[in-house]
């Protein structure tokens, strides 16, 4: 059981709310202190919330296909805002169209994310990863 604070949200103009509600439930059940920003969250809101809550990780979802456009620059903005060490996780249907996971992963790792999850990933996996990355 971990009690780190994490910020959760669906980035961009994306309104897919179902997965977000389930992630919120899953991370809370796992003991995290979850700041859930819901859907349609801008990069600025993510950063603002992470600073305010002193979060150790940002869990970014993108389902609707614009993930690539929406996520660019997030790492740089985090660094500018003084969040050098924050872990950035991203998951969902990150790009437009069915695409081999390896390509997508590469693209988002290069953008500065620490972990990238394929469509429909079980939240349990990321919980194990969070415990590994943040320590518990």
């Amino acid at each position: 059981m971990s009690s780190h604070t994490i910020v959760l949200g669906v980035i961009g103009a994306d309104v897919h709310a179902v997965g977000n509600k389930i992630l919120h439930y899953a991370y809370s059940q796992a003991g995290f202190n979850v700041v859930n920003l819901g859907v349609m969250v801008s990069q600025e809101e993510f950063i603002q919330a992470a600073i305010e809550a002193d979060a150790k990780a940002m869990i970014v979802s993108s389902l609707y296909g614009h993930g690539e456009l929406d996520c660019r620059g997030l790492r740089d903005k985090c660094i500018e805002a003084g969040l050098e060490k924050i872990k950035l996780y991203v998951g969902g249907n990150l790009v437009v169209g069915k695409t081999p996971y390896e390509e997508v992963q590469k693209k988002f790792l290069e953008m500065g994310f620490d972990r990238v999850y394929p469509p429909g990933s079980d939240p349990a996996l990321s919980i194990l990863d969070l415990e590994k990355d943040l320590g518990n």
Binding site: V15, V18, H66, V96, P119
Partner: protein, 488 residues
């Protein structure tokens, strides 16, 4: 804002219109009179209203995909492919998400990147940025009617441009394109904005051009009980009819239980007509659209075909006028043209094969229709009561009071207290009714149904059932049983 369900005056309409057309430079391309002429010259085979009437009268089922890409030429290729290789009866242009949020600057950026990378970086067709003439290029490149499918809370400019562009059907509504599609926008705002859209279509009607309107049925697409989506469909039909809309297709997203789905489509048509008549709208032509399963899909394509086919079969048994088709890529991403056409052909095979089999009335169907009817009337009547007979006011007050409440919706104007879960036969029931205005009998019915499931699964009725049900179809089940895939 003082919203009421009253036809906009010409003066009001034109005042708003001058603002709307300024929202993006392509607004300048719209000239209503020229548009009317354009529509009058257009081949009748491209009229959505006419096609829907024909299908309803001759009792066949139309199939339609979702589809849209960033660039006009590619979009045309895509639609032609779906028409020719997909045997689609009618076409969509699914609008990208930036346009849906009126972020035309970001759209422009997406279009440019798409050109640069040679692939669509937008998740749909950005009709506003392309403008009237490009839209007409699209319409002229196909033989069958094309509809705007989107999810846009403020869809006024989009409507102006696409209707002038030759589209003959427009999806959405002030409730159905707000609650599931936005977070912070008030119903006052979206209902007002959609009154404008409906009025625009009313004006087309008055010029002898029938534009089909389709309130968006599935809402969040995830375990939405029929009475909730029916209530929204009825409210939006009344709002549209008031503005002069004459051809309405009410929608519903498949639940998965055959009896419940057939009952839903049948009652949807009956109840919509009932309320339209009640308010004196006797000349509105009502048809239905059935959406194949709108929730999470299995990733495996072979399994996805099973889900698609089951939706097609249900549409046939229900006798819906139109069915919106999913593709075998659904769980993974926007489909390739090929995958999209495959979903269409699977669906075509099933609906034509089952064309001559409709479910006849029987006790189970009747019981389910009675339940849906009682619930829907309870919700709509309560909204009307809260609005003093005005459905615009009633819808706003209704959401605020939670007497209408959409599961899993992102909007902060939705109470979010209602929880759905499947019963032991897979029909969607209410685990939590929140403030829905249901009488004790209805509440007891849902309780009993879920307790039956709980006993079967040897576990208490709880939120865990909801989660299990959300995942279930993606994992090959309908009812999310505790042992998952294993047979018990």
């Amino acid at each position: 804002m003082d919203v009421q369900n009253k036809r906009l005056t010409d003066e009001e309409f034109h005042r708003i219109r001058s603002e709307v057309l300024m929202q993006w430079h392509t607004g300048k391309e719209v000239d209503l009179d020229e548009s009317f002429e354009y529509h009058h010259r257009m081949d009748k085979s491209k009229s959505f209203s006419a096609l829907l009437k024909d299908a309803k009268e001759k009792k066949y089922i139309l199939i339609q995909p979702r589809a849209g890409v960033a660039l006009v030429d590619k979009h045309i290729e895509l639609l032609q492919y779906l028409q020719d290789k997909g045997t689609a009866d009618c076409l969509p242009s699914t609008i990208d998400s930036y346009t849906r949020h009126n972020r035309y600057q970001e759209v422009q950026h997406g279009i440019e990147e798409s050109i640069r990378e040679g692939r669509s970086l937008l998740n749909g067709f950005p009709a506003v940025n392309h403008g009237v003439h490009q839209c007409r290029k699209v319409i002229e490149s196909v033989r069958i009617p094309v509809q705007v499918r989107h999810g846009t809370p403020d869809a006024r400019l989009l409507a102006e441009i696409t209707l002038a562009g030759g589209f003959t059907s427009y999806e959405g509504g002030g409730i159905s394109y707000n609650i599931p599609y936005s977070k912070n926008i008030s119903l006052e705002k979206t209902i007002t904005d959609w009154q404008y859209v409906d009025r625009l279509i009313g004006i087309y009607e008055e010029h002898g051009i029938s534009i089909n309107r389709e309130p968006y049925g599935p809402l969040t697409g995830t375990l939405v009980p029929p009475s909730i989506s029916h209530a929204v469909a009825i409210a939006e039909s009344l709002l549209a009819a008031e503005q002069g809309v004459k051809n309405i297709t009410v929608g519903y997203g498949q639940c998965g239980n055959l009896i419940q789905d057939v009952a839903a489509i049948r009652t949807l048509e009956l109840l919509t007509e009932e309320y339209l008549h009640k308010f004196g709208f006797h000349d509105v032509y009502v048809t239905t659209v059935f959406h194949q399963w709108m929730g999470g899909f299995p990733q495996d394509e072979a399994k996805a075909y099973g889900v698609i086919s089951w939706g097609a079969a249900t549409a046939a048994f229900a006798g819906a006028t139109k069915v919106i088709v999913k593709s075998p890529h659904e769980a993974l991403g926007i489909p390739t043209p090929q995958a999209n056409a495959q979903g269409l052909r699977t669906t075509k095979q099933v609906v034509t094969m089952l064309k001559d089999q409709r479910m006849h009335m029987n006790d189970e169907l009747k019981a389910e229709m009675d339940i849906i009817t009682a619930e829907t009337r309870a919700i709509v009547d309560k909204m009307l009561e809260l609005g003093n007979g005005d459905i615009a006011k009633g819808a706003i007050a209704g959401f605020a009071a939670g007497v209408i409440d959409v599961p899993f919706a992102p909007s902060k104007f939705n109470k979010g207290l209602v929880l759905p879960a499947r019963d032991n036969q897979g029909a969607i029931r209410f685990l939590e009714c929140g403030f829905l205005p249901f009488n004790d009998e209805l509440k007891a019915f849902h309780k009993k149904k879920l307790e039956e499931r709980g006993r079967f699964e040897k576990r208490p009725v709880s939120f865990q059932m909801v989660i299990d049900d959300v995942y279930a179809i993606g994992k090959g089940r309908m009812v999310g049983r505790p042992h998952g895939d294993q047979e018990q």
